[in-house]
Structure formats: C-alpha cells, structure tokens
Assembly symmetry: C2
Homo-oligomer: 151 residues x 2
C-alpha cells in the first residue's frame, strides 16, 4: 500500500468517526471525538469517541472496512479502552462500520472480543453480526424504554 | 497583536490544556481533550476537556492569563458547556490558570459567572479567588472522603 492509500484510509476513518459522533449527538448523547489520529496523546490513552448520557458512559474505538471480513484489534487499543472505561465507570466497544454493504453501525463490547494466537484480538464476521445496534445502545443508556416497561 | 503573538498564545493555551489533562488523569479521572482549537466541530459543541470518574462528569473550558485580571468568557462558550453538561448529566466549569504567579488551577462553576452588559460573562479577580481548587473537585467526584466521614 503506498502513501496516498494510507492518507485516503485515514481520511475515510476520520469521516466515519465524525459521522458516528453526529449520530450519537443527534440521539441525545454528549459526545466528543479524540484529538486527531497520530498524535502521541491519543495513542496512549484516548478512545476515538466518548459518549455520555446522564452519567452513563460509552467509549469507542472505530473500525471501518470495505467489506465483511475478520477485523483485527491490537491489544494496546483494547487495553486503552479498558483503562479509560474503568476510570469513567462506563462500557467499552469497538464500533464497526462496513462500507459498501447496507449494514448499520455495529458495536462489539470488548468483553466479547476473540483472542488471536499473537495476543491481540479479533472480530469474526459472526461476532460482527451479533454486535449491538444503535437502538441497543440507546436502550442500555436508558434513553428509550424497553417495550416491556409499557406492559 | 500580530500573527506570531496569536500563534504563541494558542500554543500556550494548548500546553495548559494538556497540563490539566495530565493532572486530572494522574488523580484518577478518565480524561480527554477536544480536537485541536479552531476546528469547526469544536467551536460548535465540544468543551476543551471532559473528565469522568465512575459516572461523575466534569466539563471544562480552559482560560489562561499572564496575571490576575477580569477574565471574559463569550456567551457561546458558556452555552456550549451548558448543553454538553446537561446531556452528560455533569457539571461545567471554567478552568483558569494564572501564569507567572504562584496560583494553582481554579475552577469556576458556570452558574457563578457574572453577566457583562453585552450579554457575555466574566470572572472578576474576587470570583477567581473563590473558585474551587483541584482538591474540591476530587471531593465532589467522591474520589476523596470528606474528613467528617471519618468521625
């Protein structure tokens, strides 16, 4: 992959992050993106996105792919998310957007990630399909009532 | 003020933001700085810093000054902080660092800000002196026990 591909990939990832921030904001969350990718601070401690609603905290690392495939997540990114979520008292997810197929954002709780033989993590296509959707997150945050609460 | 002064001021403000993030992180908060000043997104909705501990949320706009003086805060910055804090279920502060005197960070709750005749806000020297210190924030977050709880 040459340099222009890398730049394109980064720009695309950045656009998707912004898209997710807008979506979460529209749904009612206070939501913030981390400083631009590549800064030293971010690599050490920041998740890509933090979303909060009335003290309920969700932190996300964002992954995009052109197609459905196994998605790999480096150990240091998962550790970073865990540390941040523990301090914040919140939950950590890998937010995945598959571009080019008609598939909405999926949110994989980091506890569900599968181990690779090299000590990193992965999300198989099956795990991706089982990921939470935005409506599940809203329910978990208490922003929408479960239908059973109307019974 | 010429352009190089503006650049210098921005760099100084940026360094102080990073300093405060480090300080809050060291005390146990999950803490994130907003994307770089000047981006459109930030001007609209982001506070300079978000700090969270076990669901307790604090949002900050950072102000620095070379000396003690009345500090002015534009209405749009206060509105932005309020909106974010309301969604997050947290508290909003102006974090002030006076450089060049031996004075620690002071945190002024936005409810305490004084109105200016032009519809903006200000922090007088007196109000600054009354601002919370870091230890007060930690107590409010429940990170340190009030001494009376040991009685």
């Amino acid at each position: 992959m040459d340099r222009s591909d890398t730049v394109k990939r980064r720009r695309r990832a950045f656009q998707r992050e912004r898209e997710l921030v807008k979506l979460l904001w529209k749904k009612g969350f206070a939501c913030m993106r981390a400083p631009a990718s590549g800064s030293k601070a971010k690599r050490t401690v920041y998740p890509d996105i933090v979303a909060i609603w009335k003290g309920k905290v969700f932190v996300f690392e964002v992954k995009t792919s052109e197609r459905k495939r196994t998605i790999y997540v480096p150990k240091h990114q998962v550790d970073k998310l865990k540390e941040f979520a523990t301090r914040a008292g919140g939950r950590a997810f890998i937010a995945v957007k598959i571009i080019g197929v008609n598939m909405s954002w999926r949110f994989i709780p980091i506890e569900k990630l599968l181990h690779t033989s090299s000590g990193n993590y992965k999300i198989t296509e099956e795990l991706l399909e089982q990921g939470l959707e935005l409506s599940d997150l809203l329910r978990e945050a208490g922003m929408v009532k479960d239908i059973t609460s109307y019974w």
